[in-house]
Symmetry: C2
Subunit: 215 residues, 2 copies
DNA sequence: CCTACCGATCGGTAGG
DNA sequence: CCTACCGATCGGTAGG
């Protein structure tokens, strides 16, 4: 939203075929796309700036010119993906209540068509729990925000007076089942992610409503 | 079971205070313990043989003398943990049916007391989906075995004639929720793993029994 | 189980 | 955005 302004800051630049800012933004997107691929395929630690740079058609010093450090590049990759998903959400109206739960099932089905992105997310989110990982803060706050949003959705289908603890347990379980299934599915594509997620969500609703037998 | 035989192969070795095989086995265990710690804290790619060796009190060439390569060491770490868990299972009689489901809840509670091991498992299982990772075959077969075992357990509490597809969906969801919760919990220890796992399991049983409302 | 060493790779910087 | 380079680290091997 802030960096894609169509007006060049200096009028003198207008005689170039392509405006400098536009070309820079385009190059940055090319690098971000390459970095998503490489971090997804190798993880952050093993994915190298050299490989990312080759995929983006430049040297690794060029990548560092645009992003400053490897850590910064990782953060930019994660925020870039988040921006795209948020934009997608807003295009379809931010869903609430049980619409959000149905929307999550749609995301699971969409993920069946983009294994690379799924792998990047699965690998980086787990890697982010290791010692002083640059993506730790990103994932911590992402999980926190998702749990609150999904707990609110469950509140609309749970009995009145359901405790926040139970709503948050259902929310964290829902996120967990989606993330955990991705790892299994990346190992074995016969794992049925949509069926397992739907079963979990409707099961959790039954649990919130007291319709489930205790173990 | 095969490598801890108390009898030395050569009688002449008996005059040493400690039998060579016994000392080797002890050293190997020390290395495996150090490797679990380091791979857990850093992941496989960033965890170095040098750091593992220091923690075990030797040089990295010594570690390689015992395990041949870094890949071999990782596999040994994973199989070592599995052996310990299997031994624990057998001590308590291999549980079946709904006993297995209750046993899994016990494992979740136990995991609250061993974050290091949880982190090693969470990091390595996700890292194992990256390009030609040495632990790929281990986790693929582990997930496969767990899914079959847990699907059998759900069969004992599901209506007769429940399809294998539905049983496997419940099983993969159960494994997924446990794995996914570990990542969230490692980021934020207020996440209530036992509550979320119990909710998921009883919810999935309700789903198998048709007691859950479709979304 | 160690000393000593190898080739390879990496992230980052200088300076343009 | 590149060339050229740096120090650091790594897994593995030789040879004992």
């Amino acid at each position: 939203m802030s960096s894609f302004s169509p007006e060049p800051r200096v009028a003198a630049a207008a005689d170039r075929v392509q405006k400098p800012q536009a070309r820079t933004a385009e190059t940055r997107r090319r690098i971000l796309s390459a970095a998503t691929t490489v971090f997804g395929a190798k993880g952050y630690n093993k994915g190298s700036l050299i490989e990312i740079a080759e995929l983006a058609g430049m040297t690794h010093a060029g990548v560092l010119h645009h992003f400053g450090s490897k850590d910064n590049l990782l953060i930019a990759v994660l925020e870039y993906r988040d921006d795209e998903d948020v934009a997608h959400l807003e295009r379809h109206q931010a869903p609430t209540g049980d619409e959000l739960l149905r929307h999550m099932l749609g995301t699971v089905r969409l993920n069946l068509t983009r294994a690379g992105l799924v792998q990047a997310y699965a690998v980086l989110s787990a890697e982010s729990v290791t010692d002083s990982h640059p993506a730790a803060a990103f994932f911590r706050s992402r999980f926190d925000g998702l749990r609150r949003m999904i707990a609110d959705a469950y509140a609309t289908v749970a009995p009145e007076g359901t405790t926040e603890e139970r709503l948050l347990a259902a929310a964290s379980a829902t996120i967990a089942v989606m993330d955990g299934l991705q790892v299994q599915w990346l190992h074995d594509e016969t794992v049925d992610m949509p069926e397992a997620v739907e079963a979990t969500i409707v099961g959790l609703i039954a649990w919130l409503r007291g319709a489930a037998q205790p173990l």
